[in-house]
């Protein structure tokens, strides 16, 4: 096995900053995304007919005018689905085309296949649908009061929260909410379905979950799973938005392809993508907490109600992760955390980087902030008082022991590094001298559980071939959406074989090569697929070692793979020569690898267990400034310390940390999903929905990866997952904005600042504090 410090190191070993495998193709425009694939002659294009009402019965549909438009090949309704009109990822009854009432504005009713996209869109506009409007439920509050849920409420309990709160010296209660978030991957949803012989279907789908696409297409077409193949080389961003939602798009494309016997491409225009497909769940939280004079929590009750939208999709899983992160880094002795997936007449929400974790942390960080204001303490002191700690305070509210706790060390290390106390003083000094602009500063610790909450999903497969020239073909179930999974797994294989990474051919994810995969989600991509590929490569390597041992007449144990060669005492062969020799000896040079995460388990009835193999940790301090006249605000500086275990690729991990932070910052500040009173999303393109631009990134942005921190669990080369955890570090921005707002009232009052903390929200919170504080100047 390689080490980073060996002198004769292969190119592209693990733990080195190898560049993204597609970097050169990206910059020269040669990377092929699905819409860039050459069009097979005869390819048709799809368009959606969407509901203009949030809740309505379909009275009649007249497709005659649309059908008569030249170039139109098919107009398909729910009744045209040959199999089962259902692509629910967890539950049932989530149709790709509305079969009962339409349940949100944008709900697909029909698809049109035509010779060009423009004809398809024009035809879709000619489909006449008469509706009988029904009363919509548009808010979380309303669904909650009607007890209208997409799946049963989920409850986590430890000890006696009522008693814990009542017996504590201090009590608080309150409410806070956080907004949703559009993924805004630059490449919108797309699928290209190509009919094959025997009614088989090949589907190119921009998806994080090729297997689910395969299943969904098979279900909709009424064919066995083996009749469908899904392939994806790369997505133009995913972020969770292409975990379950891609299946809808792919199944619609496949339906049209099956009916027309032509290849059909369905690419959503940006506005359709934002209106028709799901987003991060917005949440409403109501909390009560009891605590001692140090701010130490003794009992807590948190209601977490999320906007599931019209169907369940992944909402129950998102909710359980929110419940599991209601603690963040804090020990909750008596806890009652209860979650409600609220059914609303808005688009069904779905996974998004963090998957409920970030939302769960909004709740507990608000509680911490509230306790601090109540006691007149520094929130950081309250945080520290509540950190997971020694044996009597080391178990989560769902029963998992926090074995790898490094929260306090990381927070201390970061605080020292940036001289946090002095920075706080400087902020206070600035605020004394400035009346219009006010600064705020805050620290956010993060503990994030790694593994899919559902143990079953924590498995992966890989397929590795070695060819007789020593070149290697690599395939696995993970998908590439820019996060660098392909290069990381290739590094694993290169290191395992001890060959240069340019000998490893990365290939598109394909359900015919590696079956029954899990989504590339939950930050698990490299943990799972890296291990599976490592397993496959090790199997081949062991066989090759056997051949080499016979050849050199030594024991297997004396064979060493090192720097593109295979050594036995003072003799050696090149890796390619050994590959040829292995073939000549009629020994297989191909293997499938498999991995299932050990140690994990979950009891869904008691909502307890060890859902997470390990935790990832991080700490972050952000400093912001607000304008008390307009609410305009800006992050001035951010310092991050992030745990990556022993990073597989520090350059890729740095990109994940920075990207996740900025995405989280956007969620918490400027990204606002705005629905009107009819339930129409009015922010459905970049002109109305604002994600951060380059100027919004903190001008001073220091990111450090925690050094000498190998994962204590034997993960792939002792690395840690990185995709999601740093997103939650951005909560420091929101906390700093709250700090800045609170400074207007001399930190005596709790700011009413939900997320997103837009300029408007900040100004309203400032005005509110001024109105509430006696000495206010409003």
């Amino acid at each position: 096995m390689s080490t980073a410090d060996s002198l004769d190191q292969i190119k592209g070993a693990v733990h080195t900053a190898v560049r993204h495998d597609s970097a050169e193709n990206h910059v020269t425009g040669q990377s092929v995304f699905i819409d860039d694939m050459p069009n097979v002659p005869g390819t048709l294009h799809g368009a959606l007919v969407k509901s203009p009402h949030a809740h309505a019965k379909i009275d009649s549909i007249d497709i005659s005018a649309a059908r008569d438009l030249p170039g139109v090949h098919a107009i398909l309704l729910a009744g045209d689905v040959p199999g089962r009109n259902d692509v629910a990822p967890i539950f049932e009854d989530e149709p790709i085309l509305a079969k009962g009432p339409v349940e949100y504005i944008g709900h697909p009713i029909a698809v049109v296949a035509a010779e060009t996209m423009d004809i398809a869109r024009a035809a879709a506009a000619l489909v006449v649908v008469n509706y009988i409007e029904l009363e919509p439920v548009l808010t979380i509050e309303e669904a909650l009061s009607r007890k209208s849920f997409t799946s049963p409420p989920q409850i986590m309990r430890r000890g006696n929260s009522i008693q814990g709160i009542a017996d504590a010296r201090h009590q608080i209660s309150g409410e806070v909410s956080c907004g949703g978030q559009d993924h805004f991957y630059l490449e919108t949803h797309i699928a290209l379905a190509v009919p094959q012989e025997d009614r088989d279907m090949l589907v190119y789908s921009s998806t994080q979950h090729p297997t689910e696409v395969q299943h969904g297409v098979a279900t909709v077409l009424g064919v066995p799973v083996n009749a469908v193949t899904t392939e994806i080389r790369r997505m133009g961003g995913g972020f969770g938005g292409k975990e379950s939602q891609s299946t809808i798009i792919a199944a619609l494309a496949a339906l049209m392809a099956a009916k027309t016997r032509r290849p059909v491409k369905l690419r959503l225009a940006r506005d359709d993508d934002m209106v028709v497909t799901g987003k991060r769940h917005d949440f409403l939280f109501r909390y009560q907490a009891g605590f001692d004079s140090d701010g130490r929590i003794e009992g807590i009750d948190i209601l977490m109600a999320c906007r599931a939208g019209n169907v369940a999709d992944l909402s129950s899983s998102v909710l359980i992760r929110a419940l599991c992160h209601a603690d963040n880094a804090y020990y909750l002795p008596n806890a009652h955390i209860h979650g409600y997936p609220c059914k609303t007449n808005t688009v069904s929400n779905t996974g998004f980087r963090g998957f409920g974790g970030p939302q769960g942390m909004v709740a507990i960080e608000t509680v911490i902030d509230h306790i601090a204001r109540e006691l007149g303490k520094d929130p950081d002191d309250v945080r520290r008082a509540n950190f997971y700690d020694t044996a009597d305070r080391d178990t989560t509210h769902y029963g998992q022991k926090v074995e790898d706790n490094i929260i306090a060390e990381m927070v201390d290390s970061l605080s020292r590094e940036i001289d946090y106390p002095a920075r706080k003083q400087a902020v206070a000094e600035f605020n004394r001298q400035n009346s219009v602009l006010k600064k705020g500063i805050a620290l956010m610790p993060v503990k994030f559980g790694i593994s899919f909450n559902l143990p079953t999903l924590n498995q992966a497969g890989a397929l590795v071939h070695v060819y007789t020239d020593g070149s290697v073909h690599l395939n696995h179930g993970g998908t590439e959406m820019g996060q660098g999974l392909y290069i990381k797994v290739a590094q694993v294989v290169a290191s395992t074989f001890q060959i240069d990474i340019d000998q490893v051919k990365i290939s598109s994810t394909n359900t015919a090569k590696v079956p029954n995969t899990s989504a590339t989600a939950a930050s698990s991509g490299s943990d799972l697929n890296g291990m599976a590929a490592h397993d496959a490569a090790n199997q081949i390597k062991a066989r090759m070692a056997g051949v080499a041992a016979d050849h050199f007449e030594v024991d297997d144990g004396e064979i060493e793979f090192r720097n593109n060669r295979v050594y036995a005492r003072n003799e050696s062969l090149s890796f390619a020569e050994l590959a040829q020799l292995t073939w000549e000896n009629r020994v297989s040079l191909s293997a499938t690898g498999f991995y299932s995460t050990p140690k994990i388990g979950w009891d869904n009835d008691t909502m307890t267990g060890r859902p997470f193999y390990y935790f990832s940790y991080g700490a972050c301090v952000s400093e912001v400034v607000i304008d008390t006249l307009t609410g305009e605000n800006r992050v001035l500086r951010t310092d991050i310390l992030q745990d990556c275990g022993r990073s597989l690729n520090p350059a890729i991990d740095l990109g994940q940390i920075e990207g996740a932070f900025v995405q989280g910052m956007g969620w918490l500040t400027m990204e606002e999903l705005w629905w009107d009173d009819k339930g129409a999303l009015r922010t459905h393109g970049p002109s109305t929905y604002k994600i951060p631009g380059s100027r919004d990134v903190p001008p001073e942005f220091n990111v450090h990866i925690l050094e000498d921190a190998p994962n204590r669990e034997p993960t792939i080369f002792r690395s840690k997952a990185i995709g999601e955890p740093p997103l939650m570090l951005a909560l420091s921005v929101w906390l700093a904005l709250r700090d800045a707002v609170a400074s207007v009232g001399d930190h005596q009052l709790l700011p009413n600042l939900n997320t997103p903390a837009t300029a408007e929200a900040v100004l309203m919170a400032v005005d509110d504090i001024q109105n509430r504080s006696q000495g206010g100047n409003s």
């Binding site: 910059v27 820019g482 996060q483 307009t630 609410g631 996740a660």
Partner: protein, 464 residues
């Protein structure tokens, strides 16, 4: 006459392409240049960025989704595929992005490559500020931008000497179904407008082109003002500067910087470089959006619109030009010829402010133009004009009255701000609520006072 342009070094003549086809669709579908991406089809993400250069002009980055094919006439066009030869090493801009790990999913990358390429060709000083400005029209959802900015820093700005060929331009193009007129003189423009009253008048097209890119509707007839000589002049005399209506923002910026730096600062936030390279002040005015950024400033500066119709030329004060929601005082046969901005006198105190969710490339919730003259500490004249507060860009006469004759103090600013907050009944929409708009409008007057009187106190978050 065909549309003629050079594409990645090769001269192209097109005779059959619909004049309503966007350049993005043309590149991807007709030329199979798939490196240029569609991310939004509304000019806000930059994934479709390319560069264009006229025979005498500079390299400019534009959104190909917001350009119609006939607008390429006479241009040299570069796409990401043309920046380096197929088997040659990547262009330094491309290599810098590779070296800085500045591409993740890669979908936005070609657009960033082209925007940064154009930036390196400007010769401007490379600072964080100039880089942010250069890529304000490009969105990346993966990297968090830091490595992209680092790539730009590593490149510096070093213009390559590329002299584009002179390509003869057409005055008329048709595919047989639709017409695209590109007159060269004001007389021809006015004549065409009266002959084709239903035709779309296209200046930069950064708003109008969405009819093609998003709505997928043909134009039928388009009259482009881009090549009209008289509309491309910037004339300055002792008392005023006159901008031809077809002068784009990029050309207007240095002049505005000179006469009203605060206005220039606002124009820098008005769309991205891609937008400003095509978009014109004339277009912003004739569009007559209630949330357009330039009208409140022009009204506050007491600008004059010079319009031209079959009956000749007439002048309309800026504050009388906008008559209602998206309506102007232009007669059907008239076009906007020029905008005359009086040179602010030394005693005029002027500021323009824009409040939006994002600093760059965002449409305003509120935009305000404030101009006062102070004599012996007393406000002797005031022009306050706002966008985002009513159906049209509008002056605030009650607020102005509350300022004139008063001592120029914070109390006056607060009192007049309260008046201003109540002077309009703005809408609640996805950009801002009614209450916020009103409150901010009033507070901006406070900022105006502090900004222009308290030199040592920062009053905007971007000042830090």
């Amino acid at each position: 006459m065909p549309v003629r342009f050079q594409l990645n070094g090769v001269l192209i003549e097109e005779n059959d392409v619909s004049p309503s086809m966007t350049v993005l669709d043309y590149l991807r579908e007709n030329r199979l240049l798939k490196g240029t991406k569609e991310g939004c089809a509304e000019g806000d993400c930059g994934a479709c960025s390319i560069t264009i250069q006229s025979a005498l002009g500079r390299v400019k980055t534009v959104n190909s989704c917001l350009m119609l094919v006939p607008q390429l006439d006479g241009m040299s066009v570069l796409t990401v595929e043309g920046l380096s030869a197929p088997d040659a090493p990547p262009h330094p801009v491309q290599q810098a992005i590779v070296d800085n790990h500045a591409a993740q999913c890669g979908f936005c990358t070609p657009g960033f490559v082209m925007a940064l390429y154009a930036f390196t060709q400007t010769g401007e000083t490379v600072t964080p500020d100039s880089i942010h400005e250069a890529i304000a029209g490009n969105l990346c959802r993966c990297t968090g931008y830091r490595p992209i900015v680092d790539a730009a820093v590593s490149l510096g700005s070093k213009a390559e000497k590329v002299i584009p060929p002179a390509i003869e331009q057409s005055e008329y193009y048709t595919d047989g179904n639709e017409d695209f007129f590109a007159p060269r003189s004001l007389g021809d423009l006015v004549a065409l407008k009266s002959q084709h009253p239903e035709a779309f008048v296209l200046a930069g097209g950064t708003d109008l082109a969405m009819r093609a890119s998003k709505d997928r509707q043909p134009f039928g007839q388009v009259i482009s003002t881009a090549n009209v000589t008289e509309l491309n002049q910037i004339e300055r005399d002792e008392v005023s500067v006159t901008f031809g209506a077809a002068v784009n923002y990029t050309r207007a910026l240095p002049v505005l910087e000179d006469i009203a730096p605060s206005f220039a600062q606002l124009v820098r936030r008005l769309g991205s470089r891609q937008i400003r390279n095509l978009g014109t002040i004339g277009g912003n005015i004739c569009n007559a959006s209630p949330i357009g950024d330039t009208p409140p400033c022009l009204i506050a500066l007491d600008a004059t619109m010079i319009v031209h119709g079959t009956g000749g030329r007439r002048e309309i004060p800026a504050d009388a030009f906008f008559t209602d929601y998206r309506k102007t005082a232009l007669e059907p046969d008239e076009i906007l010829e020029a905008i005359r901005v009086p040179l602010p006198s030394p005693e005029l105190v002027f500021r323009a402010y824009k409040v939006s969710k994002r600093f760059d490339q965002d449409i305003s919730a509120v935009v305000g133009g404030f101009a006062v003259k102070i004599e012996n500490g007393i406000v002797i004249s005031a022009r306050v004009s706002l966008g985002g507060m009513a159906a049209r860009p509008a002056r605030a006469p009650t607020c102005e009255a509350a300022l004139i004759g008063q001592p120029w103090t914070l109390d006056t600013a607060i009192a007049a701000g309260t008046v201003l907050a109540e002077e309009f009944t703005p809408l609640t929409d996805f950009r801002a609520s009614q209450g916020y708009r009103a409150r901010v409008a009033g507070n901006l007057l406070q900022r105006f006072y502090l900004d222009t009187t308290q030199q040592d106190m920062p009053v905007e978050v971007m000042a830090l």
